[in-house]
Symmetry: C2
Subunit: 388 residues, 2 copies
């Protein structure tokens, strides 16, 4: 599936038009590195990608060598994809078709030795919350432990010794069948290590998610895995720096941000800014993952923008990327094609950058704890100065 965009990738456009000498400087200013840090992708992965028509990009982030610690090299992967079957097909058929597509991309990631893989937000379903219809879409909701998607991924986690972060619509049968927007953390042992629920829920444009589920009640967990300390900030939570910050305070070295965001909502100019700012401010790696493609629904819906009702809300723009604690970032995947981004990182960079820039040391945390608490009270008086 591919949309007809004027440019399919910002980076490719820059490389195409800007002369090498200036391009070096442009890349340094925009992306933090002048050089092309691509690493080789194995033949098996390349073949799977070619056969199944998805893009694979790779990138590498180094750290200084240390006497006191060995390098902690980890390969992380991010997948962006369009849906497969029509949204008017039966639910299970739609899900199975996506499972099949993603199975192939996971095979490529596994062949290339990816240690931690994150899928896009609500990956086994269309992003149907735009419709505000409860039926039939709520049928996509699954159990964290034993839903078809978790079962599908457990096998592959074991096969490839890979941690998989799977964003689903959760059905919590132990709490009155409530729905949640949840990421399931599947360990490389094949066990469910835990779940994290989306902390901040949008009510903007077509993203009527507060109609379906509430703000998450799982805090800011960090998963201490064989491949580093990881956390998940789901979609709209990327707009909230205090949310990113709590994952850092709990020790995260990589924070994944599975998302779903479209051109029409004017979020694209924000996309390159927010996850990258979080990497800088918190001295950890961030992985921003967006969906691609346009999803069309059976019944028309309106978008709260005064325009006529319609059956789709414009293309998701992909552009998934990885940002590093030193402020540099990888190229993005395309804006309109299925893709797998593989980055090899050295986790030691996190602490090195903490030491270098000193943002944690200088953060005055107790002051802000106090101030935020004060500002949240009903009788808060803002600190405002007026001329006498």
């Amino acid at each position: 599936m591919s949309e007809n965009f004027d440019i399919s990738s910002l980076e490719d456009c820059l490389v195409k038009h800007i002369p090498p000498n200036e391009l070096k400087e442009v890349k340094r200013i925009l992306y933090g590195r002048s050089d092309d840090n691509a690493i080789p992708i194995c033949e098996t992965a390349k073949k799977i990608a070619e056969k199944n028509k998805f893009e694979v990009k790779s990138y590498q982030f180094d750290a200084l060598s240390e006497d006191s610690r060995s390098p902690r090299i980890v390969k992380i992967g991010a997948i962006q994809n369009s849906i497969v079957a029509s949204t008017s097909e039966p639910i299970s058929k739609q899900r199975d078709a996506i499972h099949q597509k993603i199975g192939n991309i996971i095979d490529a990631a596994g062949a290339d030795g990816v240690n931690i893989l994150c899928l896009q937000e609500a990956w086994p379903m269309p992003f149907a919350f735009c419709t505000r219809e409860k039926h039939p879409w709520c049928q996509f909701a699954e159990s964290v432990e034993n839903g078809p998607t978790t079962l599908f991924l457990k096998e592959r986690a074991i096969k490839y010794n890979m941690i998989i972060l799977s964003s689903i619509l959760e059905r919590d049968e132990d709490h009155s069948d409530q729905l949640w927007n949840t990421v399931v953390v599947i360990s490389n042992s094949g066990k469910v290590m835990g779940k994290h629920r989306k902390n901040h829920i949008p009510r903007v444009g077509d993203f009527n998610e507060s109609t379906y589920y509430m703000e998450g009640n799982t805090g800011h967990p960090v998963y201490d895995t064989q491949f580093g300390k990881i956390a998940i900030n789901i979609c709209y939570g990327r707009h909230h720096p205090q949310n990113w910050m709590m994952f850092g305070l709990n020790g995260a070295e990589i924070v994944f941000n599975p998302s779903a965001t479209v051109i029409g909502a004017l979020s694209e100019p924000l996309w390159g800014i927010e996850a990258r700012n979080a990497a800088i401010a918190n001295s950890y790696f961030t992985v921003a993952i967006n969906r691609v493609g346009t999803e069309t629904f059976p019944n028309e819906f309106s978008s709260g923008d005064g325009k006529p009702a319609h059956k789709d809300f414009g293309p998701f723009y992909g552009s998934s990327y990885v940002a590093a604690p030193d402020g540099s970032r990888s190229p993005g995947l395309s804006r309109n094609k299925d893709g797998l981004l593989i980055c090899q990182i050295d986790l030691n960079l996190c602490r090195q950058i903490k030491d270098k820039w000193g943002f944690r040391m200088t953060q005055r945390l107790s002051l802000y704890g106090e101030k935020f608490s004060e500002a949240s009270k009903l009788d808060y008086k803002p600190q405002v100065v007026k001329e006498n």
Copy 2:
């Protein structure tokens, strides 16, 4: 003064090389707007700029029209400049020479009707904190109320009916002669409306500022002026999202960020990200202002990077810009030339974007007040999940 950079301006480089059709999309993705929103600059201002060899750029940010409020159009200005006299000249001679240069640029801003003007960090002096020498540099410290720089600006504030934000090294004679990194808020009435002290102090590379002054004790004041509610986040405070956030919670509509940062410290890839992320996350305008030029000092100093001692620490890279709450931004001033950036904004955009995106409503402030307080305690146990 001008440095020999490969590219003097990122935006000019893009415009020069990318074909119009694709440039439109590149500008939309990178800057949030496809169109050239420059506004005319008056002839007097142009003439002053030409005579005194500084650049003037302009830009405009619109808002929707409302029934319940008239547009609140304000012109804001930012000045970036190199120093003038040699750093081996007497202190007063160095300061007077900078005053004279800035006087001309203020005349241009005044002629063009700028309402609020902000100067770069520690503008009446070289950024001598790299040396760690107390003498002679501490002699640049001035009284907020009656120092030569405040007196110089008061006249012009009255003449042009202009609020001026003046970043100085402060000498507080009422508190044992302590030094502070302070912005003086000079009202358009010519009175000192207040002062704000830098909240977060760097200890990185050549920025040995903690050797000279402590973390600010003035909180997060917002100045309710004739031209809107404004605040100041000084330099290194831009790396701290919680600092930006408190100014927003106190009601700021524009937050100025007078800074001093150089290429060597690897901050340039962060520059376009941080103030812009703050504008997005807090639904206000931000104004990022950096110095330009290379400052050479009489005695050599080392930079804590294992390299030989030297007498300068590389060029400040300018690139001052304005970011809007909707995520769009103005072009930057050049990386190597004195400049005045003028932006006409409609403050109504702030509340419109608050309503649209809902980041305040969804921020869960009391939760984070509590969490930050917990995380700042000595016995804090991070929320970490390990596999059984």
